[in-house]
Symmetry: C2
Subunit: 276 residues, 2 copies
């Protein structure tokens, strides 16, 4: 794909969102698809699928400090349209974003539902994955592993799995302060690996410093994903303007992009949720 | 869907594209999906599918007189990725548009490929389906039925089916002149019906005036669809600034939105390509 004619705003396809300048504004564009069998189970409630589709896209806007302008939907008509529309309504209402348009169509078999979110940058330059500097402190918002526990049916974490809330306000507050930022929907370790690679540095993370929902399962909490939290880096000594945990330090690029408790992790395999 | 929180620019979901104002600019956004089994056959060449995906989206921009800014792709990885990327490269290159980003993912079964196109309006107000006025003349560009003949294997029309070229220049030239405009990818009669409904008028069309690729199959040529031509209305007496055929007149809303050779067509059934 990187060989294709790329827009300058595509950032070489190495980021979660495209950034384009239009008139006096900077727009942030992102697209996330949810495919049955990959991102949701055939028996999933389409209300929840609709909600997560909106949340996952807005989370990418949050990581850019962007405020949503609207969303475009791609939806295959089927048996559960009422449930989907109901969940979509709840999500758009709760996250204060509106539908711009899209496409509905007939399709057979496993469903593929797509959403494009358009946002307006609130701070220039728009944070990227690639800005982390040697010596920066690494932070993450929230508590990881909640979506995993919710998926397993733990009552107090059900909403974290079914109805995640993207960190819109935190993203806008952080945008002027961070050197790099992204969301960690694919899992902390995998996304930290990607941010380190994009920044051409090594991220040294201390597992014990990572806030997890289940201390017995710290490793899984760092890998499972689906937590719509923000990973970001700040200059050493800078204070985070939002509640967040310091989990490590950016080091000169060494043997591996990611070092966990002193152990180098040399490739992305097994670090988190890979979906093509 | 119309009950959802709609952006003002969604135009009530009654148009082919959303129109939003950002900075001093007006953006036009559209999304078209191609689903295997509905929009393309399982044995279709993915090069052609990629091309048509880009063409169908850009055709919606053309109908708004917009120039493309970029596209966002949603693509399920599979066996024919090289073919798809090759066709996408050709289309982006030929139509002078760049990839902004998107999402690739693993999926099983019938493929669903989506594209969001972002364009910049070249004329304000941006043409809508809804602007046709009583007494206006109805025009269409090109020759209809070529895609149908190409689908059937007629050599000289193969490209019309596999490699359609959206009317970008015509759309931009027409935008300041028309009272209403849309593309007719779903078939002339169906799309004329929709434009008449949106304009709250009756479109009276004379079949003999419609330029068709096969005079023996005039009716099929007006219904088959997949011709990326433009349907538009001009004030009576105005001349079309691009080559086009006058095919009828806008009349006060009568018994049916569409009248073909004096026969009212009261519903959309059978008029063209319906896909949910």
């Amino acid at each position: 794909m990187r060989a294709l004619p790329l827009h300058q705003g595509a950032r070489g396809l190495n980021d979660d969102a495209a950034v384009i300048e239009i008139g006096g504004e900077t727009l942030v564009l992102t697209h996330d698809t949810m495919a049955e069998g990959t991102h949701f189970r055939a028996d999933a409630n389409l209300r929840d699928v609709a909600w997560k589709l909106v949340a996952s896209n807005l989370s990418d806007l949050a990581a850019k400090g962007a405020e949503p302008v609207g969303v475009m939907l791609s939806y295959p008509l089927g048996d559960e349209d009422a449930e989907f529309v109901s969940g979509l309504w709840q999500a758009l209402d709760a996250m204060d974003v509106q539908l711009l348009g899209g496409d509905t169509f007939a399709a057979k078999g496993a469903r593929t539902i797509g959403l494009t979110a358009i946002g307006r940058a609130t701070h220039i330059p728009v944070p990227a994955r690639s800005g982390a500097q040697i010596g920066d402190a690494i932070y993450v918002t929230g508590t990881l592993g909640r979506a995993m526990l919710g998926f397993e049916g733990v009552q107090e974490h059900l909403d974290a799995f079914n109805r995640p809330e993207p960190r819109m306000l935190e993203g806008r507050t952080l945008a002027p302060c961070v050197t790099a930022m992204m969301d960690i929907s694919d899992g902390l370790l995998l996304d930290a690996f990607r941010m380190a690679e994009a920044s051409e540095a090594t991220f040294a993370i201390e597992a014990a410093a990572v806030p997890v929902a289940s201390a017995d399962r710290r490793d899984e909490c760092m890998r499972w994903g689906d937590d719509y939290e923000l990973l970001f880096t700040l200059r050493e000594g800078a204070e985070s303007p939002v509640p967040a945990s310091r989990i490590g330090t950016v080091e000169p690029l060494g043997f591996a992009p990611l070092v966990l408790d002193g152990h180098p992790l040399v490739n992305q395999q097994g670090l988190g949720f890979q979906h093509g």
